[in-house]
Symmetry: C2
Subunit: 241 residues, 2 copies
């Protein structure tokens, strides 16, 4: 059994330059090198939205996207995982803004504000399914502590990863909205944390399943969301007169 174990490789192949195809990006000015860091994150995000999956984010693909050479990324990020972490941080920020904006146009009624925020969450997710998916799909494996240098200083979970620390801001908005309903006597919830968690779970499930199974006979989204939010938030059937 002659096993050609010695995998000898002679490869005479040149990588394509970044200049071909894509518009070549012009070099940053002297002090502005950090600007490329932002562009890398933007490029990765654009790639995700265009291709529909985060698997499209490879160092080379990102480099092509923004018109630089692949190894140039190493000056800004140590590896792919850290790029993705920065992407996640940015998308969580966008999510928080979307919720705040939806809530802002909802008036003063605490229940309406709660519902509006939830509808905003779902609308955000459905507006960019791939972008939303990265929030909770990152296997944060093989990721050392260097993420601290590239993201805001978040708290660390018990397993040493930044886990939900990212979503904390959005989740806090939800807890706060429910608490206001409780305080104003509109909800008979006795555990804002647990009930917020239930709402969050349902919101996430809605986005996740609606994008994964578009063929399912889904009810009209806003009313569907409203109905389950009211029940999970233990909103009273009749407002107190």
């Amino acid at each position: 059994m002659r096993n050609p174990r010695a995998d000898s490789v002679i490869q005479v192949k040149g990588d394509r330059q970044p200049s071909e195809g894509r518009p070549k990006r012009q070099r940053n000015a002297r002090g502005q090198g950090a600007r490329l860091t932002e562009d890398i994150v933007s490029g990765a995000l654009a790639l995700i939205e265009r291709e529909g999956t985060d698997e499209a984010v490879t160092l080379r693909a990102v480099a092509r996207e923004i018109g630089i050479a692949a190894p140039s990324i190493y000056a800004h990020f140590p590896d792919r995982a850290t790029i993705m972490l920065a992407v996640v941080a940015r998308v969580f920020d966008e999510l928080t803004q979307a919720i705040l904006q939806a809530r802002a146009v909802a008036g003063d009624d605490p229940v309406e504000r709660l519902v509006a925020g939830c509808e905003g969450y779902v609308a955000f997710g459905l507006r960019g399914p791939a972008r939303y998916r990265v929030l909770f799909s990152e296997r944060r494996l093989g990721l050392d502590d260097s993420w601290r240098d590239y993201c805001e200083p978040f708290e660390i979970g018990p397993d040493g990863s930044p886990v939900l620390a990212f979503g904390a801001e959005s989740f806090a908005l939800l807890v706060q909205a429910l608490s206001e309903c409780i305080a104003s006597g509109r909800s008979r919830s006795t555990d804002a944390m647990a009930d917020s968690t239930a709402i969050w779970v349902a919101l996430h499930g809605t986005v996740s399943l609606k994008t994964a199974a578009p063929g399912f006979p889904w009810p009209e989204p806003d009313d569907f969301v409203r109905q389950f939010v009211l029940r999970l938030a233990r909103i009273m059937p009749e407002p107190p007169t």
Copy 2:
């Protein structure tokens, strides 16, 4: 600007045989060739559970896993997507069995049966997060009609893909369980379909988020599930005497 466009490649590399490392699988008997089809699906599933992601399923990895040569797969599946489809079909089947089993030990009370099925769903998901994830993460793209030859004959969605046809069985169990609660006067739901959808969405969200964010302060799972199922199913506070 001399651009070495002509990417001439001289590659003198031999692939590794499947025999090295892995235990070489012994050839199937004459009529039993189809047995490898099952083994390929099992191998892909094992790979998913071990590596934690379906990205680990490459033709070569599956071949290594079960001790065959990569090209041998082509006699059984035309491409990776079809293998994944068969995996999804099998996992959905496992899910249905898990729900049925959980329900079987729940006694006769329709509410308890509903809750037990839901807890079974969540327990199944948490028992094998990667396995569960494939159910709803497959981008069914670039997948021609040949899936019909490898899975049970499912209905086709409006976009020509088998989409939710897979989960239909599990979902039907849920609708049925809720309908029994309605019929026995324990639920005041007037739309079993919509309320089942809400429950499904919450169940999926629970599994998805609990595995994605294990660092979050999750409530005890069974009670958490029971609480939101009762509310979403519009179960009466007091059983009728």
